[in-house]
């Protein structure tokens, strides 16, 4: 009897493992992935009222423990000021990049700037859901015109891109997530910046040695064909610029211009990569 029970248990486990393996394999196929995205979107919609209700109950308790009597208005004013400071910083950073690009621009018809794009302003309602991915949850979704793939910026620069969307919510993968890659440039030098994890700098690859990149330079999105982001959005400040001996590329690290642990309001740029 015990042997039969054990073999039945093993059979059930085998069945579940095979089912899970099949689901994982299917999730890598684009058609099945669309269906999974729809189910995920539906699940977000189902849980949204629960989340909202819990959040409404939880936030006052958390705020009480954190702070002062007038916490709410101070928090809101602080957030607006931070956004304003961030916007001014971004303008400043973009201006310095524009000055460097001026001569090259004369030869170009037009450079697409993030400022010229339609935006959806959203509030960050939650941070990482998983311990293995760096994401933000926004309070705007499909109903407001947000779709998967749209870039997300804060006042100072690039935050990430939308990877999942429900009717009134969206999930953003941060640029610091290890699975995130962004095409960047500094003047005429292009490279790819990859996330290294929470609180860490971004690593820039594929920059050949001997390029005029210096500590303190601001690298912006390259916007090259096939890129995930429009050109000219500040991503990070060069914090390490070195040329290791016998290396085929520069050793570069970027400190994100946006303090990703403090983001409260963001703009979702209604931009899609042009078909290649």
């Amino acid at each position: 009897m015990a042997v039969r029970r054990a073999s039945r248990s093993r059979f059930v486990l085998l069945l579940l493992v095979l089912t899970a393996g099949t689901i994982i394999t299917l999730s890598y196929r684009s058609k099945a992935n669309h269906a999974i995205d729809r189910v995920k979107s539906w699940a977000s919609d189902v849980f949204k009222p629960v989340e909202t209700g819990f959040r409404d109950a939880w936030d006052p308790v958390a705020n009480f423990f954190r702070g002062t009597v007038d916490y709410g208005s101070e928090k809101s004013a602080n957030a607006k000021l931070r956004q304003e400071v961030g916007r001014l910083r971004r303008q400043n950073l973009e201006r310095s990049d524009q000055a460097r690009q001026l001569q090259a621009l004369l030869a170009l018809d037009k450079l697409p700037f993030a400022d010229g794009l339609p935006k959806v302003t959203a509030e960050v309602i939650n941070t990482n859901f998983s311990n293995f991915q760096l994401t933000l949850q926004l309070n705007r979704g499909r109903s407001e015109g947000v779709t998967v793939g749209m870039p997300v910026v804060s006042g100072a620069g690039l935050v990430g891109r939308v990877v999942q969307v429900a009717s009134g919510q969206a999930t953003v993968l941060l640029v610091t997530d290890p699975s995130s890659s962004v095409g960047v440039r500094d003047g005429g030098v292009v490279g790819v910046a990859s996330g290294q994890g929470q609180g860490k700098t971004l690593r820039v690859d594929y920059v050949p040695p001997g390029q005029p990149i210096h500590k303190g330079d601001v690298m912006v999105t390259s916007g090259l064909q096939g890129g995930l982001y429009p050109a000219g959005i500040p991503l990070g400040t060069v914090s390490i610029a070195a040329q290791p001996p016998d290396s085929l590329q520069e050793e570069l690290a970027l400190r994100p211009v946006v303090d990703l642990s403090q983001v409260q309001f963001v703009d979702v740029l209604q931009w899609k990569p042009p078909p290649s």
């Binding site: 493992v17 689901i23 998983s130």
Partner: protein, 172 residues
């Protein structure tokens, strides 16, 4: 398992998911959140037999996968293995003391996080094998060990049938 027990189980899974989404993801210890869904799978392993625990772990994982950007099914695979392993090991352990389930939950949930990253790396998500894996396993194990004092009785309540008092093992 009768319809009433199934409804209770569904309720526990949805409540755990809601708590994870709203409260769990806002608790931050050294940059790590507690993981209530892997705890649900471990708790199922503590109170039920291997097959039933693995099934609950699978569905708990599938529910969890709906809110992650990792490959769909990764949590389902991990959690069913965790639940099965816990149920199998628990079969040979006398559970007289209150701390046995707590210690089991610490080991199972910490191991679950490591297994999740390992399977993730195997299916192409190499970045999940992060240097923070030790910290993630430690924090998740520690917090889930404490929360097991609530989660295990809740799972026992979900599995209870009229003929079978809480925290007795299932027949299959």
């Amino acid at each position: 398992m009768n319809a009433m027990a199934r409804s209770r189980l569904l309720l526990v899974l949805f409540a755990a998911m809601a708590l994870q989404l709203v409260v769990g993801s806002r608790i931050n210890i050294a940059g790590v959140h507690p993981d209530l869904m892997v705890l649900t799978a471990a708790a199922a392993g503590i109170v039920a037999g291997p097959a039933r625990a693995a099934t609950v772990g699978f569905f708990a994982g599938l529910l969890n996968d709906l809110f992650l950007q990792t490959p769909f099914g990764l949590s389902a695979l991990t959690f069913c293995l965790v639940a099965y392993a816990v149920a199998t090991v628990q079969g040979g352990v006398l559970r007289g003391s209150w701390w046995v389930p707590a210690i089991t939950a610490v080991v199972a949930t910490a191991g679950g996080e490591v297994l999740f990253a390992l399977i993730g790396a195997i299916v192409g998500q190499g970045q999940m094998l992060t240097g923070r894996l030790g910290a993630i396993a430690g924090v998740v194990g520690g917090v889930d060990g404490v929360l097991a004092l609530v989660a295990v009785p809740a799972m026992g309540w979900a599995f209870r049938t009229e003929a079978e008092p809480a925290r007795t093992r299932s027949r299959w």
